[in-house]
């Protein structure tokens, strides 16, 4: 009876599609309502709601778009190139400290921008390590100017390469050992082996992760200002920020946000075409001896040093200045604990929210491969939804239906912060969950159908135990993203909402840079602790081998 019902395609289709459709619907509704609210609010602003005011504005806008796109592509290419070399070397070699390096890889992406920026300057700046070393080596003062394109690429490279590297290591970890044995038997070696065998296997990870990097860089602006060296380098996000904060022209912000989404959609299509469509893992993901480590020791060494330096040196600089900073005051400050608890509570809620929405999209994408790209696309677009525009739009929408996000107490503010932070984590969640979930779906769907295991019961019995580790990673990332986020907080701020990044920025704003660095160091340690705790609670243990530890 069960068996007969379970195999009816119509019923199983809805079970597969419903969660994803609901999640996509929620995403579309939130984005749509926020954008509509912005566009309709145009008449209240001091300016009318068109993108460009006059011909000059259109020309300026075209320039901004061109710069935004070019820097995003260059940053994406740089991160992808470095991540392939660094990730490959990390996957091939076993060395002391490899676990530490793998554990540190998610950190750069969640470092507060101002802290990471100062870390980058400690390494590459005028008075940085590199300049100091060169000055000593050459015996004369070296004028070191990274501002402009080098600075922008260095900064984006630092913030994004490490995460992408982790995806590449994961992709290598999922390759069957036989593949390497066969390659060796066939005498395929060196560049040939990389091009013919490895590249097709890691291409998905590189391009789907690369899409994330491009999306993040499309919306970058604090770093671009800091490292751009002058006002010539502005992105669309700057224009969105200006139209909301300076001119208060919500409609203009709405149109610019739409333009940004459209740009991202172009990249989504482009990268899907290049092989970035998220696919299921090909093989076994248990930690396996890597059968590829023959030869190329020198090359791997160079990549490890280069990649490690690039992705982790600024982090080390932050850690060093944090270690040298005063700590005792922080431990004695009750407001610090309040900020810590609020940040953790919001982070955990946002992480769960992201996991729920992303998980629903993944469930449906795997359940019905024809819709796979649609669900992946919906999840990915969140990457470039400008948080300020999103929250301002939601704010206006809530106001329009008579709910005051402020007057109703902090509840609405907290809910908005959690929701927005959760949604921002969705693109990462789907990239982490989708490959192993796809593999499981492929392998177990016929079996589960034949025993009538569907819906919640299937999720609990099949997916839950097998996806514990990737789910833990996705949740941990969602939590730490939210921990490091300041953007949304500032719009919904209330006296009760003191978070760690806000605490840090308040210290910065009051000349207390040393103390701010101590808080930054604590934030990084806290992020590592969140990873350890989430893995201990959900995955059973911290991934002993971070490389293959996703599945």
């Amino acid at each position: 009876m069960h068996r007969a019902r379970a195999s009816r395609p119509a019923r199983s289709l809805s079970v597969h599609l419903m969660p994803g459709l609901i999640a996509a619907g929620v995403c579309a509704c939130i984005a749509g309502v926020a954008l509509m609210a912005l566009l309709l609010a145009g008449t209240q602003g001091t300016r009318q709601g068109s993108i460009g005011q006059a011909g000059a504005d259109w020309a300026a806008l075209a320039r901004i778009v061109r710069f935004t796109v070019i820097q995003a592509i260059l940053s994406g290419l740089l991160a992808m190139g470095l991540a392939v070399g660094f990730g490959r070397a990390l996957a091939r070699r076993r060395f002391v400290g490899r676990r530490v390096v793998l554990a540190l890889l998610p950190l750069p992406m969640i470092t507060p921008l101002i802290v990471g920026g100062l870390g980058i300057l400690s390494v590459y700046g005028q008075q940085g390590w590199l300049a100091g070393y060169l000055a000593r080596a050459l015996g004369e003062d070296v004028v070191f100017n990274i501002y402009g394109w080098p600075g922008i690429l260095l900064a984006h490279g630092f913030f994004n390469t490490a995460f992408l590297t982790r995806l590449v290591v994961q992709a290598y970890g999922a390759v069957r050992p036989q593949t390497w044995a066969i390659a060796r038997q066939l005498g395929i070696e060196g560049w040939q082996r990389f091009y013919r065998i490895e590249w097709p296997l890691i291409r998905t990870a590189v391009f789907s992760g690369g899409l994330l990097v491009v999306g993040l860089c499309l919306t970058s602006f604090v770093l671009i200002l800091m490292f751009g060296g002058g006002p010539g380098k502005t992105t669309l996000e700057v224009a969105i920020y200006q139209s909301l904060r300076i001119d208060f022209a919500p409609a203009r912000a709405g149109w610019l946000a739409l333009l940004q989404l459209a740009l991202c959609a172009v990249f989504v299509v482009l990268f899907l075409g290049l092989g970035g469509a998220i696919q299921e893992d090909a093989g076994n993901t248990a930690a396996q001896p890597f059968g590829l480590a023959d030869g190329g020791l020198l090359g791997d060494g160079v990549w490890l040093v280069l990649g490690g330096w690039f992705a982790l040196a600024p982090l080390l600089a932050v850690a060093l200045s944090a270690a040298a900073a005063p700590w005792a005051w922080m431990i004695a400050d009750p407001i610090f604990y309040q900020a810590l608890l609020t940040s953790l509570a919001i982070g955990i809620a946002a992480g769960l929210c992201g996991l729920l929405i992303g998980g629903s999209l993944v469930w449906s994408a795997c359940g019905d491969p024809r819709w796979g790209r649609f669900f992946d696309g919906v999840g990915t677009l969140w990457l470039v939804m400008p948080p300020l525009a999103l929250s301002a739009g939601l704010f206006l929408a809530l106001r329009a239906v008579g709910i005051s996000p402020i007057g109703g107490g902090p509840a609405w503010g907290v809910a908005a912060v959690i929701g927005v932070n959760g949604l921002m984590a969705v693109p990462f969640v789907i990239r982490i969950l989708r490959p192993p979930a796809g593999r499981i779906a492929k392998r177990y769907t016929p079996l589960t159908l034949s025993v009538g295991l569907r819906g919640w019961r299937r999720l609990w019995r099949v997916e839950a135990p097998l996806l514990r580790r990737p789910a833990a990673l996705a949740l941990a990332l969602g939590i730490v993203f939210s921990l490091g986020d300041l953007g949304v907080m500032t719009l919904f701020g209330s006296p009760r909402l003191q978070t760690l990044p806000l605490y840090l920025y308040q210290l910065m704003a009051g000349y207390r840079i040393d103390q701010a660095m101590a808080v930054a160091g604590f934030l990084l340690l806290l992020s590592l602790a969140v990873f350890a705790a989430v893995f201990a609670l959900i995955a059973g243990r911290y991934p002993r081998d971070g490389g293959a530890g996703y599945g």
């Binding site: 209240q44 602003g45 101002i114 920026g117 100062l118 300057l121 400690s122 700046g125 005028q126 008075q127 600075g151 602006f221 200002l225 800091m226 490292f227 751009g228 060296g229 002058g230 006002p231 010539g232 700057v238 920020y241 200006q242 909301l244 904060r245 300076i246 208060f248 919500p250 400050d333 609020t342 953790l344 509570a345 955990i348 301002a392 704010f395 106001r399 005051s404 996000p405 402020i406 007057g407 109703g408 107490g409 902090p410 509840a411 907290v414 500032t490 719009l491 701020g493 006296p495 806000l502 920025y505 308040q506 210290l507 910065m508 704003a509 009051g510 000349y511 207390r512 840079i513 609670l537």
Partner: protein, 330 residues
């Protein structure tokens, strides 16, 4: 672990439980910059000082965005007083109808300029200044003209005028010394000495104290922090002969405030010693009335000339200035 999760759940529920902020009698809600509202800023002391005399509760909210935040919230805003609308936006703010006249008699202020405004009450001020690291720069320029027109080995950073009031004030300062189109040439000459333009004051000042640049655009009172808190005279402001631009911060009460009388009382309180004595060592700027200053303030530069562009002119011309700045710096 379980105990922790229960604790978090409880905390979370408590944070979520609705509290009516709006229309609560006896609550004065103040929007301010996030530093002002923080425990290191003047906010907590000012809250305590006003609560001893008002029979009310003061809520200071870190509301970044100032005027935009108020415009976004409209009628629904719980704010009674707003303290973070920059001078270059006050004309726009008055036109929005969101603010109400203060109805105070403002006499003898200790300001280097003459302040007359029906709506806004100044609560602190300082001079804009180029702050430098004395261990790197031994002979700082003695005039803005020298800084701009002469060759120098050092470079400096400043915050983007699109995002930061400090940056906008620098624009106004340069316009005051190089009127009209002359500013284009000034910016072009300044360009090689500009290391970068950051989003906010914090990034710029962080780059300065981290040693990336030996000079930053900040305030003449910034060195007071280092003199008092760090006991260090490493950082000083360069005194410029043309005079320094006067930067001030102002407060106003809102139209939709449910207790305009209380808001009025707070604006009056701003001009009393109880408020102003907190300013020097909590906000690191000058009070707007004569109150005793810490000894370290004697070591700060004392410009003999003040430059200032009135808010209406600022509002009229800032777009043109920004355009000129962007083109010259590009």
């Amino acid at each position: 672990m379980r105990i922790f999760s229960i604790f978090f759940a409880l905390w979370f529920v408590l944070t979520l439980s609705p509290r009516a902020v709006l229309a609560t009698p006896g609550v004065l809600t103040i929007y301010a910059g996030s530093y002002f509202a923080s425990q290191w800023g003047p906010g907590p002391q000012i809250k305590a000082a006003f609560e001893t005399q008002c029979d009310c509760t003061v809520e200071i909210i870190a509301a970044e965005g100032g005027l935009a935040r108020l415009q976004l919230e409209g009628e629904a805003s719980p704010a009674d007083v707003i303290m973070n609308i920059p001078i270059h936006q006050i004309t726009q703010a008055k036109a929005s109808g969101l603010l109400k006249a203060h109805e105070l008699m403002i006499g003898n202020l200790a300001l280097p300029i003459d302040w007359r405004d029906r709506v806004f009450v100044p609560w602190d001020w300082s001079y804009l200044a180029f702050v430098y690291d004395r261990t790197v720069i031994e002979n700082p320029p003695t005039s803005l003209r020298s800084l701009i027109e002469d060759d120098h080995e050092f470079s400096f950073v400043f915050p983007d005028p699109n995002f930061s009031t400090t940056g906008m004030d620098l624009l106004a300062w340069i316009q005051a010394v190089y009127p009209g189109d002359q500013a284009t040439r000034a910016w072009q000459q300044l360009r090689p000495k500009v290391r970068t333009v950051t989003k906010g004051w914090s990034e710029a000042y962080g780059m300065f104290t981290n040693g990336e640049v030996p000079m930053v655009v900040s305030y003449s009172t910034s060195p007071a922090y280092h003199l008092i808190a760090d006991e260090s005279d490493r950082y000083a402001a360069a005194a410029f002969s043309e005079g320094h631009y006067v930067t001030l911060e102002v407060a106003a009460r809102t139209t939709q405030s449910d207790d305009p009388a209380l808001a009025h009382d707070f604006l009056a309180f701003i001009l009393t010693p109880a408020f102003q004595e907190i300013i020097p060592t909590a906000n690191w700027s000058y009070p707007v009335i004569d109150v005793p200053l810490p000894a370290a303030f004697d070591q700060l530069i004392a410009p003999t000339r003040s430059l200032y562009v009135p808010p209406d002119q600022l509002a009229r011309e800032k777009q043109a200035w920004l355009m000129r700045w962007r083109q010259a710096m590009d």
